[in-house]
Symmetry: C2
C-alpha cells in the first residue's frame, strides 16, 4: 500500500459523526500463529504511536460464539486490521470475527485493512493453498451448516480483495520496518491525530480551547493563529493538542 499521507484522512465527517468509535484499531489475528510475535510487535508499535488499539488478550479456548465484548469492540473501531497468517482460516472464531468485520465495513463504513503475513492475497480471496486445507476440514465438520461456511468464504473473498500490506512485498520482509510503515499508514489514515501530547497535561485546556475558538471564528479564507512565548513554555504542546482536538471536533 503506497503511503499517501498528503491526502486527507479518509474518514468523511458523515461516517465519523454517524458512529461513536471506542477504538482507532481492532486487531484480528489467529492467536496460535502471531499472538506473541508479529501481532505483539504490531500492537506495541500502534500503542506507542498513540493509536488506541484493541486486541483480544484471551488465550483461553473460546465458546461457540464470539463474545459480546468482542462484537462491541469490533463495532466500536474505526479501522479493523486483519492479520492473515498461514492458519488464520483454520480457526472458526477468526472467521466469525471476520464476518462481523466485513459486516461493519458494509454497515458503518469501518475501514478494513488486510495484512498478508506469509500468505498471498489470492490464497485468502479464493481460499487456495493453506486456506483450501482449512476449508476442506470446515466443510467436513460443518456439513450441516453450509450457510455459515459460505459466509466465511464470502468474508475472505471480500477482505482478500482489499488494499493492504504484504510482508513479502514490503521492506524486503524485514518485520520491524514493515510494522513501521503500517503504523505510519494507519496514523495517516486516522488523520495524523496521533501526535503525542503528555498523558496528563496540566493547565493547557483553556489555552487549547481559546485557540480552537479563534480558528473556528476565523474568516473563511484565514485559518492561521500564531502562538508565541519563551522557549520551553509549551507552544508546541499546545499546537499538538489543538491539532489532536480540532480534527475530530
Amino acid at each position: 500500500m503506497a503511503s499517501t499521507c498528503s491526502e486527507s484522512p479518509f474518514f468523511s465527517s458523515s461516517s465519523s459523526s454517524r458512529h461513536r468509535w471506542n477504538y482507532d484499531v481492532f486487531l484480528s489475528f489467529r492467536g496460535k500463529d502471531t499472538r506473541k510475535n508479529f501481532t505483539d510487535h504490531l500492537y506495541t508499535a500502534l500503542i506507542q504511536a498513540g493509536i488506541h488499539t484493541f486486541r483480544d488478550d484471551n488465550e483461553l479456548p473460546r465458546g461457540e460464539e464470539i463474545s459480546p465484548q468482542l462484537v462491541k469492540a469490533i463495532e466500536g473501531s474505526r479501522i479493523s486490521i486483519v492479520v492473515f497468517s498461514k492458519q488464520y482460516a483454520s480457526s472458526r472464531w477468526c472467521l466469525d470475527e471476520l464476518v462481523k468485520i466485513v459486516e461493519c465495513r458494509q454497515k458503518i463504513d469501518q475501514v478494513v485493512l488486510p495484512i498478508f503475513y506469509d500468505t498471498e492475497p489470492s490464497d485468502v480471496r479464493k481460499q487456495t493453498g493453506s486456506y483450501a486445507k482449512a476449508f476442506d476440514e470446515h466443510e467436513e465438520h460443518f456439513k450441516e451448516e453450509m450457510e455459515k461456511v459460505n459466509k466465511w468464504r464470502g468474508a475472505l473473498a471480500e477482505a482478500g480483495n482489499l488494499s493492504g500490506w504484504g510482508l513479502n512485498n514490503e521492506a524486503n520482509g524485514y518485520e520491524a520496518e514493515f510494522i513501521k510503515r503500517i503504523v505510519s499508514d494507519v496514523a495517516c489514515k486516522l488523520g495524523n491525530k496521533t501526535l503525542h501530547v503528555a498523558k496528563h497535561p496540566v493547565g493547557i485546556y483553556s489555552r487549547v480551547q481559546g485557540i480552537i475558538s479563534l480558528l473556528k471564528g476565523a474568516k473563511p479564507d484565514v485559518g492561521i493563529v500564531g502562538i508565541h512565548g519563551i522557549a520551553g513554555i509549551g507552544k508546541t504542546t499546545i499546537a499538538k493538542a489543538v491539532l489532536t482536538n480540532f480534527i475530530w471536533i
Copy 2:
C-alpha cells in the same frame, strides 16, 4: 535475568580502558531463523535506545571462513548477544562466530549474553534436542576435522551456561515486552550511557567540558554541580551529554 540496574555497570575501568570498542553490542544469530523477525525487532529496539549495535546484514552464502570484517566487529564489541534459535547449531558459520565470541570473552573480557529463543539452555549446553541432530550431521560432514567440531561443542557448553534471557520464562513469551526487558538490561549493563542527546548538538561542547572539569576537580566527598537557566535552554541536554561522556572518560 533479573534487571539490576541499581548495581554499577559491569565494565570495570580496567577492562574498558584496555580495549578500544567500536560497538556496544554484536548480534550473533542464524539468519534463516530470526533475521527478519525476532532479531530484526531486537536490533531495531537496541538502535532506538541509542545502543550502537552490529548485525551482519549479508544474506548471501558465506565462504569457508568467517570474514575479517566480522571478526573485527566481534573483537570491537563490548557485549555479544547470541540468539540461540532452534537451528542455530546447524550453521557452521554461527558456530565459528560463537567460538570467536567465547575467545573474546576469555581474552578481552567481552560480556556474552545468550538469548534462548524457543530453545532450552540445557539443549545448548549439552547439545541435545535440535542441537543433537545438528551435531550428528556435523560429525558426519567434518569427520576429518573433529577438533573443529569439539571447539564448537565447547563454545556451546560455555555460552549455554551463562546468565541470559529465556523467551519462555520472561514476559509470558510475548516478544515485544521480552525485547523491552533485554534492551533495558543491556542499557543498564552499559552503565546507562544510552541517554539520547540530539544527533548533532550545537554549542554544548564547551559547557559539557566545563561541567566535567568541575566534577573532576571536586573534593572527594562532593560530586554535585547545579545547572540553572530558563526553561528550554538545554539544561537537561547538557546533563545527559555530561553523563554520556563522563562514564567513559
